[in-house]
């Protein structure tokens, strides 16, 4: 059986299909839309409009790239504030025109650097969570590789969260966790066991709703299956008259805590 860290390794493989592959494999007539209208165009985030089985949808994906050159161009799939602002701009546009939003997530985390902090990395993610929580169109987020903390969540306040079999989703990288816990990043494998970061774990915690079989990953059949599943799910969500209310309830319910009897008194 695959260990949690085996999943992490698989999720990080550069040969894995990236958001760009999913977008071209699943949607027809995709037109990329660039920029956050404030500062720059973040190459770590691809966004635009395309058709999903005929229906116009907004598509947003965090892109890592495959080759070394591509990876540098894509900031290794680590969006800065501009990436999250572009994503949110396109989501608001989707809401205006009543288009569903499909997100593909594959990031080790939000970009870490002086410029990102100067331009409000935390604020950009916060605004994304805040706005997505009540966006009035269906949102489906698919984790295709790494799901690194707040940088991934910023595209995943969704009505449905699906994960590839070998995708991971975690509050902190196993390396980061190990270096905090044992001051030793090389014990990442052990840390991964504790973090409950696999797709199965996320499903058990209720964070994910579905696991996507990846035995034929990257093939035409694979993308066709996802296209059909997305299309079907959008039919279900589009018929939901209380979408934002249900999304609120979904996230409201997360948490495991103890409560003494006197807690209810006000």
């Amino acid at each position: 059986m695959a260990t949690a860290y085996d999943r992490v390794r698989a999720a990080r493989q550069s040969s894995r299909p990236t958001s760009y592959d999913y977008i071209t494999g699943i949607f027809d007539g995709f037109i990329e839309l660039h920029g956050d209208r404030r500062f720059a165009d973040d190459h770590a985030v691809i966004g635009g409009i395309g058709r999903l089985a005929g229906r116009p949808v907004t598509v947003i994906g965090i892109e890592k790239g495959h080759t070394a050159k591509e990876r540098v161009y894509r900031s290794f799939g680590q969006p800065g504030p501009e990436g999250y602002r572009k994503s949110l701009r396109l989501m608001r546009q989707a809401e205006k025109f009543g288009r569903p939003v499909i997100c593909f997530i594959d990031t080790s985390g939000a970009f870490c650097g002086v410029g990102a902090e100067e331009r409000g990395q935390g604020q950009a993610i916060a605004e994304s969570l805040y706005e997505m929580s009540s966006l009035d169109v269906p949102i489906i987020s698919v984790f295709i590789g790494e799901g690194g903390s707040g940088g991934a969540l910023a595209l995943a306040v969704a009505d449905r969260v699906w994960m590839l079999e070998n995708a991971v989703y975690s509050v902190i990288s196993p390396e980061g966790c190990a270096s905090i816990l044992w001051k030793d990043a090389s014990r990442a494998e052990q840390a991964a066991d504790h973090l409950m970061l696999t797709a199965d774990d996320a499903l058990n915690l209720g964070v994910a709703d579905r696991i996507i079989d990846e035995s034929d990953i990257g093939s035409e059949d694979f993308f066709e299956r996802i296209r059909n599943d997305l299309s079907h799910e959008l039919d279900v969500l589009s018929a939901d008259g209380s979408l934002a209310e249900n999304r609120y309830r979904r996230f409201r319910a997360f948490g495991t805590y103890r409560e003494r009897e006197d807690a209810a008194e006000q």
Binding site: G113, G122, V171, M196, R258
Partner: protein, 298 residues
């Protein structure tokens, strides 16, 4: 004292005698008052001096204080009614050492978790208030913190109250894994609902406010103010330094840096916060037009 009188203003007293304090009181007659040293300017003062200045130093440094102390400084006398007490962290991941750690902290701090919530009166102005506790796992947000803050915003929405929140946090709590991460979305959704009802949320950032708390409710206030010198950011400075292998610019991620870059509304010293908060609440009270003495009134 220095011999040149006009340079006296440059002079920092080295002891009580030079300060002209209790010079002639025989040592055995007074109980030696404990002193505290400012971590910034390294001068020592009697604890009561710091207390009078709400644990700020004349050099401008704001010392870290507990949530209870803060509530005492901000709320009116008998003006804080605590709510949602008794919500404590569970250990959903059976994370190494976590259960034991929180148990110890509950005993040592006397707090259930890293936030205190309640209804408060501040210079006569009513609000819902949350104050985070730095000594409980550096104010990190797990399920208990997320639940209490969410309940507070929901309560404030029902009661049509503004929310005043003091953030101090290292971020999302690693030991509760994905469930901690989900608290960022959960609290953000609650803030949004409160806001959509036309209600005001005043977020006050104190040292430090980092990670998943910066990237959620701390940065979602209608008005965001910060304490002088507070470290505020997403990634921690040490992590950035290690990742980029560059020396960070002077004052990086300090409150003053955020003000300069347009991410906070104002920096307000602790001694002025109560007044500022009360004014802001009063100016957001529905139908609030203050009677003024100008015009043709006699």
């Amino acid at each position: 004292m220095p011999d040149i009188p006009f340079l006296n203003f440059l002079y920092k007293p080295r002891n009580e005698l030079e300060k002209g304090g209790r010079a002639f009181v025989p040592a055995q007659d007074i109980e030696k008052e404990p002193e505290e040293t400012c971590p910034n300017c390294h001068r020592s003062f009697p604890k009561s001096t710091f207390e009078k200045q709400l644990f700020t130093c004349s050099c401008g440094h704001h010392m870290r204080i507990s949530a209870r102390q803060r509530i005492g400084f901000i709320a009116d006398r008998d003006g804080f009614h605590e709510m949602f007490r008794g919500i404590t962290s569970a250990d959903p991941l059976s994370f190494p050492g976590y259960g034991k750690k929180t148990e110890t902290l509950r005993l040592s701090t006397g707090e259930d978790d890293a936030v205190i919530c309640g209804r408060a009166v501040i210079s006569g102005e009513e609000c819902a208030m949350f104050v985070m506790e730095p000594s409980f796992l550096m104010g990190s947000m797990g399920s208990a913190v997320g639940e209490k803050i969410t309940r507070l915003f929901e309560y404030a929405l029902n009661e049509r109250l503004p929310v005043v929140g003091f953030a101090v946090s290292g971020g999302a709590r690693m030991q509760e894994g994905l469930l901690s991460l989900m608290q960022m979305a959960k609290t953000s959704a609650a803030v949004k609902r409160h806001s959509d009802a036309g209600l005001m949320y005043l977020s006050i950032l104190t040292d430090p406010t980092m990670g998943g708390v910066t990237a959620s409710f701390a940065m979602e206030g209608d008005i965001i103010i910060a304490e002088p010198g507070a470290l505020i950011g997403f990634a921690g400075p040490r992590v950035i330094e290690q990742t980029t292998r560059k020396t960070l610019p002077e004052g990086f991620q300090k409150a003053e840096f955020l003000l300069e870059h347009g991410f906070i509304d104002a920096i307000v010293p602790r001694t002025e916060q109560k007044e500022t908060i009360a004014s802001l609440i009063s100016m957001h009270r529905p139908g609030n037009t203050e009677d003024t003495d100008d015009g043709d009134s006699v």
